[in-house]
């Protein structure tokens, strides 16, 4: 089973993360951690119009959490905000190819999506869109 988890692509994103770092004057920066593992993720976003113009992440933790964060940034770069709003946990689990994780390790895989959604809660709340903020906040509860 761990042979299926630690495939080349996961190790590649773990050791050579994409879009890792900071953004100068981001529109949103948000941090969260997984108390179970101590995995930490910061996500910085630059929004232009209704699109994610730039996304970068910082973090430390296990291969699953860091590789999924790296892959998530590639998934949403230059994508409309609405597509992030509608993104589900299955979307990211399928993308990273980890669909049979147990209840403990799935938290590692979903941490980056949770942080991204929390970031967008802040983004919408700052822009007087409480309905979108609430929808995203509700999403994070199941992540």
């Amino acid at each position: 089973m761990s042979d299926d988890i630690y495939r080349e692509i996961i190790l590649d994103h773990y050791r050579n993360p994409r879009n890792k770092g900071k953004i100068s004057s981001p529109d949103v920066s948000i941090h969260d951690s997984n108390p179970l593992c101590g995995d930490e993720i910061d996500i910085h976003l630059k929004v232009e119009g209704d699109k994610i113009k730039d996304i970068k992440f910082e973090g430390r933790g296990c291969a699953i959490s860091q590789a999924s964060a790296s892959m998530l940034t590639e998934m949403v770069m230059n994508k409309p905000l609405t597509s992030v709003k509608d993104m589900t946990k299955d979307d990211i689990l399928e993308e990273i190819g980890l669909t049979s994780l147990g209840p403990a390790r799935i938290k590692c895989a979903l941490l980056s999506l949770k942080v991204l959604k929390l970031g967008m809660v802040k983004y919408y709340a700052d822009r007087d869109d409480p309905d979108s903020a609430k929808k995203l906040q509700d999403d994070t509860r199941s992540l």
């Binding site: 089973m1 761990s2 988890i5 630690y6 179970l36 593992c37 101590g38 296990c62 590692c108």
Partner: protein, 415 residues
């Protein structure tokens, strides 16, 4: 004198039903997470079941036969604990939920009455969160200061720093773990208590890791408070112990108010119960306290000096083996005699949670993470470590399985 022969581990294993368990599709369980919680022998499971099947009733109040039987069994455990740690009086033993609650009892009751603005509480960098957060809450509330005795690169406490802190007249309490749950370090607690007492400062000992794994004698050590948990020493979860010297306990105010801790309650005033009941508000965890009694019998029967001998032997074996694995960084004292049965390490760039997953696939249960010791993790400059921890039922064959799984992890991560 207790006989000093090696433990009959094969026979001991027969007493633990769970050790027969297969995990992850048929792999023999290798349980190496004993610093988190230990497994329970049948005698403990039976004692709990016997209480619920045959004499379940509330204690201390009713006069019917079953209540009397339950009260006797509950109080017998208290006597066994007093004997186990060599307390002078049985009423110095207070039942709590766990070590954490025991330390909180001291910080809320004794701490609130004795720590004021400008005072200091001294702890160390190796502490578990349960011996950090209660003191942060107290010192922040009182405008007092928390000081940390540092740990050196080999996992030993920096005694010069300790001496320096004690020189301050503002120190009101020292609170130290006797054995680190991450590094395994056994601190020179007797010496440190002596140094503190020379300045008139009382000492709380967090015995969560030490009491289960080595002989502990509170009178010889001369600690003022000691906290530990039943579930780390073959007993059930939900039972902790606080030992407090009687002369200190007599001056302390209650922590939790309610039933059972009172003598008389009137509209605007209450007369509290005698020691130790004054500190045990509400119906306690009767079944599990009785179960803990069976755990204490089991350990007493083996002898704590033999428990310690066994752990030194298996820890030394594990340290020797793991040192030979390429890419391993070990934490804690190099000598098995200076540490408990705990081996913390990292290997290459494999995150501990990934390692634990790979181990789990092979039936090996280890712990990974910050081990509720994030202050120490910061000091070691790591986010997490992997930890194998041993107890009386672990064998060298199990250590070999663990080492083989480590090699598998290296292969998967191409190290």
């Amino acid at each position: 004198m207790m006989q000093k022969s090696a433990l009959n581990v094969k026979k001991i294993r027969q007493d633990f039903p769970i050790l027969k368990r297969k995990v992850m599709g048929g792999k023999q369980l290798v349980y190496l997470d004993n610093a988190a919680t230990t497994q329970k022998p049948l005698a403990v499971i039976d004692a709990i079941s016997d209480y619920y099947s045959n004499y379940n009733s509330n204690i201390h109040r009713a006069v019917h036969q079953m209540a009397e039987e339950a009260t006797i069994a509950y109080e017998e455990t208290r006597q066994k604990i007093a004997k186990f740690i060599n307390a002078r009086h049985t009423d110095e033993i207070i039942f709590t939920r766990n070590t954490t609650e025991a330390i909180n009892l001291v910080s809320y009751s004794w701490g609130r009455a004795n720590v004021s603005r400008g005072d200091k509480v001294v702890i160390s960098e190796i502490e578990h969160h349960s011996n950090i957060v209660p003191w942060q809450i107290l010192t922040q509330e009182k405008g007092a200061k928390l000081e940390y005795v540092g740990v050196d690169d080999s996992g030993y406490l920096k005694m010069q720093e300790y001496e320096k802190y004690l020189a301050s007249k503002k120190v009101k309490l020292v609170s130290l773990s006797q054995m680190s749950n991450v590094l395994g370090t056994i601190v020179p607690i007797e010496k440190m208590i002596k140094m503190s007492h020379e300045k008139g400062i009382p000492v709380l000992v967090d015995g969560a890791q030490s009491v289960p794994h080595m002989p502990v004698n509170v009178q010889k050590m001369d600690c003022d408070f000691m906290a530990f948990s039943a579930h780390k020493m073959l007993g059930p979860t939900g039972v902790g112990v606080l030992y407090v010297k009687r002369e200190i306990l007599e001056k302390m105010q209650p922590f939790i108010g309610g039933g059972d801790m009172i003598k008389e309650v009137h509209k605007y005033e209450t007369r509290y119960n005698d020691l130790p009941y004054k500190f045990e508000g509400g119906t306690p965890n009767i079944a599990d306290v009785i179960g803990f009694g069976a755990a204490l019998d089991y350990l007493t029967n083996i002898g704590m000096d033999r428990v310690r001998e066994h752990e030194i032997e298996i820890t030394k074996y594990a340290l020797d083996k793991i040192t030979g694995v390429k890419g391993v960084t070990l934490y804690g004292p190099p000598n098995a005699k200076d540490r408990g049965g705990v081996v913390s390490f990292n290997i290459g760039d494999i995150h501990p949670h990934d390692l634990a997953t790979i181990m789990n696939d092979r039936g090996v249960a280890i712990r990974s993470g910050h081990h509720c010791a994030q202050v120490l993790m910061e000091r070691l400059d790591v986010s997490a470590t992997s930890r194998a921890s041993f107890y009386i039922y672990n064998t060298k064959d199990e250590v070999d399985t663990f080492i083989d799984a480590l090699s598998e992890a290296r292969r998967l991560f191409r190290i």
